[in-house]
Structures are given as structure tokens and as C-alpha cells.
Amino acid sequence: MAQVADGGADAAIEHLTAEDRIWLLRAMLLMRGLEERAMSLYRQGRVPGSFYDGYGQEAVSAGAAFAMGPEDRLCILHRDLAAHLIRGVTPTRILSQYMGRAGGITQGRDGNVHFGDRNLGCVGMVSMLPDMMLVATGMAMAFKIRGEKRCAMTWFGDGSTSRGDFHEAMNWAGVQKLPVIFVLENNQYAYSTPVDKQYAVDPVERAAAYGFEGVTVDGNDAEAMFEAARAARARAVNGDGPTLIEAVTMRMHGHAAHDDMKYVPKEQVEEWRKRDPIERQEARLREIGVDIDGLRASVKAEIDAAAEEALAGPMPDPATVLDGIFCEGEAEPLGDGQAPWSGFASDGGAV
């Protein structure tokens, strides 16, 4: 494993209010709770297909997305539900999405975490990874051409670094010095394939070869992730180009619900269990007197209500199955997302 930089979380403190830190925990708790609820619904046969979760990786998306402004644009990966929650996608719509209901973000057209709310500045992923690296690069290219102080962020995994689109996006972003942030979510396994069969050199070291900065961050620390993303965003919007953030973490569950993960040594999982990102954030907040039990209860109540509402929602009407293959009206670009970090509250462009 790569060296994990220390001190990221310490540096984050000066940019995070107590409310911000609670927001990070709340996003992670909601993500875990929603995914656990979805897994039960899957076992009850209410979630079709398979189910993919990000248990143990919640800090990667929560921390990174928290640093993004309303006008920034995100391409989010399947183990990054917290990013959707931070942008403003509601739990009801997420559970409806998992169950293929009409109220889901894709209205049943696509499954699980294959969604992005276009009205909240997000483009949903496709299964071919890391295709969205190029899409994010293209967004950043448009921002640069138009002279806008915005950036694009995308997440992808360790396995993605083996594909050509990783190279094309890294190279393109480096050549054009674009305001894009690449978050490499290194969770040690691409399905069953460990990283030592994926690459000979830690991919964060490749950033230098493409002409920009690569940083390794403890991916199980939401505040360290936030700080790395905040610094990367500052570089991006100041015209200093892209950043590759390697978030070192561990996939604690199988690739999907059908995968028993027998190929992962038990000791490896147990070792990472001690570094749970939610427990870590809870310990920090307990120290400053936050009512963790109260927070957990309110998150659970929100998920209970969302599940009830989603289960009551209708399935999509088969008569609509051919609708929307083509856009028939005007092309509407992506809208702005929610950006709860206090740094955006005052001047709208925290840099």
C-alpha cells in the first residue's frame, strides 16, 4: 500500500465548522443506513438485479463531494452514495431507484447507483469504467474555454487505472491543464482481482508523468478527504490544473450482493474494520460534545420514512418504455447542486 499522508484531517479543521463536521457524519450515516436498508429490500426480493454498496468507503465520497461548489459538476461512482446525498438527492428517490420504481432518479430506466440527478449537477455513471473520467475532463475543458471558475470531479477505482480511458483522461487533463479532480478510490480489489495484479506502480505516482500533482489520502477519514479535495479545488479554479487524489480504502463487502468475497483474506478485512470511517468521525464529534445517539436516531427515522414512501410508490408504466430515447425539445445543460459546506455560504466561491 502507498504511504498515506498524515495531517490531512488536522489541516481540515480550520476550514470546517462543527456543523460541517456533523454534515459529513450525517452523510456517511445516511449512506450506510440507506445501503443497509436496500440490502434488506434486496433480500426480500424488492430490489431487482444485484445490489452494490460502499460499506466502509463512505468517507471517500462524503469528504470529497463536500468540497464541491454548487456550480461544480460531478460524475459519481457506484460506491459513492454520500456524494449524491450531499448534492441533494433525497433518500426516498434513492430507495425508489434501487427498487426500479417510477420515483427513482432514472424512473426505472437504469438500476442501482447508475444515476445522476441532472438538476443537481451530476452525470450518472456507466458500467464501463472509467468512462466518466473523460466526461469530467470535457466539462472542465468547457469551464476553462469559457473562463469560468468551476471544476469537475469524478471517482473511479483501482481497476479503472488499467483501462485506456484512464490514460486518455489523465493525459488530456494534463496537456490542457484543466480544472478537474480525479478521485481514485483504491479499495484494494476490482471485483476479485487484487491491486498487485492490476498495476506495477502505484497509480498516484503516474500523476507526475502526466504533468500534475498526485496525493495519497487516508480514504477512511472524511475530514482528510475533504481537505485534499478542498486543496485540489483551489488549485483547479485558480488555473493550476488537475489533481489525482488516491483515496486508500478497503471494499468491506463483496463486489455486489451475490459475491461472498471468499478471495479476500479474513485478516485483511478485520484489520480494516478497525479503521471504520464512521466510528472515526463519531469519536471526533463526541469529543466536541455532539449528541451522536440523537443524530443516529434522526437518520434512522429519515430512512424509515423514506423506505415507507418508496415502497408505496408505483412501478414505471410499461407504456412509457420507449419514451425519451431522443431529446425532443431543447437541450438543457446540467443544473446546480446543493453545496452545504459553510465555505460556500459567505462568498459563494470559497477558494
Binding site: L134, G138, A142, G324, I325, F326, E328, A331
Partner: protein, 322 residues
């Protein structure tokens, strides 16, 4: 009305769009300083600058993928594949990311991919293909293929204004061989078929470079038969009404593809006629297409596979005599 070559008509459309709309952005390999492998964008960089006439890295997946990103944040990218063959390297971004975006997420991807296609110049297996059927088979992508200078301009304007991904098949063999009067300024040619020559005994259905081949083939040697030529112009959407209308009037049908025969655009047209035009037919639906072979390099080999005037005329004769 000025007379332009097919290539000049394409350039004219791109120039007019760049002047009219700040959101329009050209991307491709060697299109800036060099002006493009076929000089479609010759001199553009001087007028519009390197940001809007962008020399990209040699990365077709990168071109399509970044264009998708630019499109969903409000740009109107027009990508040039140096040769249509190279779209194989950008296939995934076009088919999986761009083509499915609106259906999955309601997010429009206004993107044009210019695909210089076709053979006839000893380009060999990697510079001569007609890949339009790949994209006809991929939901969410429109496919157009002009055969005249006026349509080259009008269809390109319409493609750039369209809120969906559009594959614009520009035939390399027509670039400097086809000339015609082209209206000035911005105008749109609809994505519908056009009767290139009216007739009543037989209809030859074609698109792209096969339209001039068809027109020449039926111009003499058919004992005065009245032969219609229908130029499809658009493959997605396919103008079913115009096709069935021609079939009803002519009763005999010959369909030409320069593409490899299996599952080509013409196969789709033949299936449509079999299903919906059967009652109008007075003979078998006949196809002339390139056999399922990589396009060979050497002139006699290439000429042996690409549909030419003689082959089309012979097929017309046989069908008229049926």
C-alpha cells in the same frame, strides 16, 4: 446561389455555425494548425482560435468522451474523426455514454461526430469503411449521410442544432467530385429522404456516395425505363413513409449500400419493405452491397467489391426484366 463542392459545403456550415453560436466548438486530430487531413477546417484556427478549433491529443475515446462532458455543460461540440474507421476507438463513449444518456437520465447530449467515410481511393482496410450501421443499431444516436453539396451543408446545420448525438457520415469520395448550388447562410435540411430523380418502373434506394452511382447507372442503357432514385439522407430516423411511397409507385426495388452487406442500412430498408410494402411489390427486393470483406488496398481488388455503375445498371436490367 454559390456553387460549392461537397467539402466546401461542409466547411461553410462549420464556419457559419462558429460565427453564429459561441457554444459551437470543433475538436479533432490535426484540424487546427494543419486544417484537417482533408482541409475541411483550413484556415479556421486563424478566425476562431485554438480553443474553438481544437487540435486534440490523438485519442478518439478522449475526443468523444470530453465532447460529451462539454455538451452537458452547454457547449455544442462537433468532433472530427480523421477517418470514420477510427471511431472504433471511440465507440464505447459514443454508444454507451452519449447514446444512452437521455433515456437514462433525461440529459441531452447535443454532439455531432463527423465521420469521413467510404472507399474508392486505395485507402485499404482501415481508411475506407462505412460504419453507419454500427450506430443505427445503437439506440439514442441519429445517423445522416448527405450525397449533395446542398444537403452536406443543410444536414450539418440541422445536426449541430439537434439536441442529440448525431453521426454525420461525410463521404470522402464525394468531397471534391460533387459540386452544386448551395444556399448561403444557416439553413436546415430535414432528416428525411429526398427523391433525387422521379420514376415509376423501378426505385433505386441509396444514400451517400451510392446516390451519384445510382443516378449515373440509370441515366442510360435501360431502354428508356422510368427509374426513380430515392436518396435516404437520414438513416436514423429512417423515412419509412418516403420509402414505402416510392415502393408503392414503382413496385420494384433495388437497394444499394457501399457498406458491407450483412445488417447494413439497406438490409433494414429491405426488412421494412418486406414487412410493410409487400403488397406493392412486383418482384424480389434486390440488394447490391459490398461483400462482407475488409476493404482491400489494391485498385483491382477494391473495384471488385465496391458497388459501381456497371453492377448497379446490371441489377436494374435484371429487375426490370423480372
Amino acid at each position: 446561389m454559390p456553387t460549392l463542392t461537397y467539402l466546401q459545403a461542409i466547411s461553410s456550415a462549420l464556419r457559419d455555425e462558429l460565427r453564429a453560436d459561441d457554444r459551437v466548438l470543433l475538436m479533432g486530430e490535426d484540424i487546427g494548425t494543419f486544417g484537417g487531413a482533408f482541409k475541411v477546417t483550413d484556415g479556421f484556427i486563424d478566425e476562431f482560435g485554438p480553443d474553438r478549433v481544437m487540435d486534440t491529443p490523438l485519442a478518439e475515446s478522449g475526443i468523444i468522451g470530453t465532447a460529451v462532458g462539454a455538451a452537458v455543460v452547454g457547449m455544442r461540440p462537433v468532433c472530427e474523426m480523421q477517418f470514420s474507421d477510427f471511431i472504433s476507438c471511440g465507440f464505447d463513449q459514443l454508444v454507451n455514454v452519449a447514446g444512452k444518456m437521455h433515456y437514462r437520465q433525461g440529459l441531452a447530449v447535443p454532439l455531432v461526430v463527423r465521420l469521413p467515410s467510404g472507399g474508392g481511393f486505395s485507402g485499404g482496410p482501415f481508411h475506407s469503411q462505412n460504419p453507419e450501421a454500427w450506430f443505427m443499431h445503437s439506440p439514442g444516436i441519429k445517423v445522416v449521410a448527405p450525397s449533395t453539396a446542398a444537403d452536406a451543408k443543410g444536414l450539418l446545420h440541422a445536426a449541430i442544432h439537434d439536441p442529440n448525438p448525431v453521426c454525420y457520415m461525410e463521404h470522402k469520395h464525394l468531397y471534391r467530385r460533387v459540386k452544386g448550388e448551395v444556399p448561403s447562410g444557416v439553413f436546415e435540411t430535414p432528416f428525411t429522404a429526398r427523391v433525387a430523380q422521379p420514376g415509376s418502373d423501378l426505385v433505386v434506394i441509396a444514400y451517400g456516395a451510392m446516390v451519384p452511382v445510382a443516378l449515373e447507372a440509370v441515366s442510360d442503357g435501360l431502354d428508356g425505363a422510368s427509374v426513380e432514385v430515392l436518396d435516404l439522407r437520414s438513416l436514423v430516423p429512417l423515412d419509412e413513409e418516403a420509402i414505402l411511397d416510392s415502393v408503392e409507385r414503382c413496385s420494384k426495388v433495388l437497394i444499394i449500400d457501399e457498406a458491407n452487406a450483412t445488417c447494413a442500412a439497406g438490409a433494414q430498408v429491405a426488412a421494412l419493405i418486406a414487412e410493410k410494402g409487400f403488397e406493392s411489390l412486383d418482384g424480389p427486393v434486390v440488394r447490391v452491397a459490398t461483400p462482407d470483406v475488409p476493404i482491400p488496398f489494391s485498385p483491382p481488388l477494391e473495384a471488385a467489391v465496391l458497388p459501381g455503375v456497371d453492377r448497379v445498371r446490371e441489377a436494374c436490367r435484371e429487375l426490370l426484366a423480372y
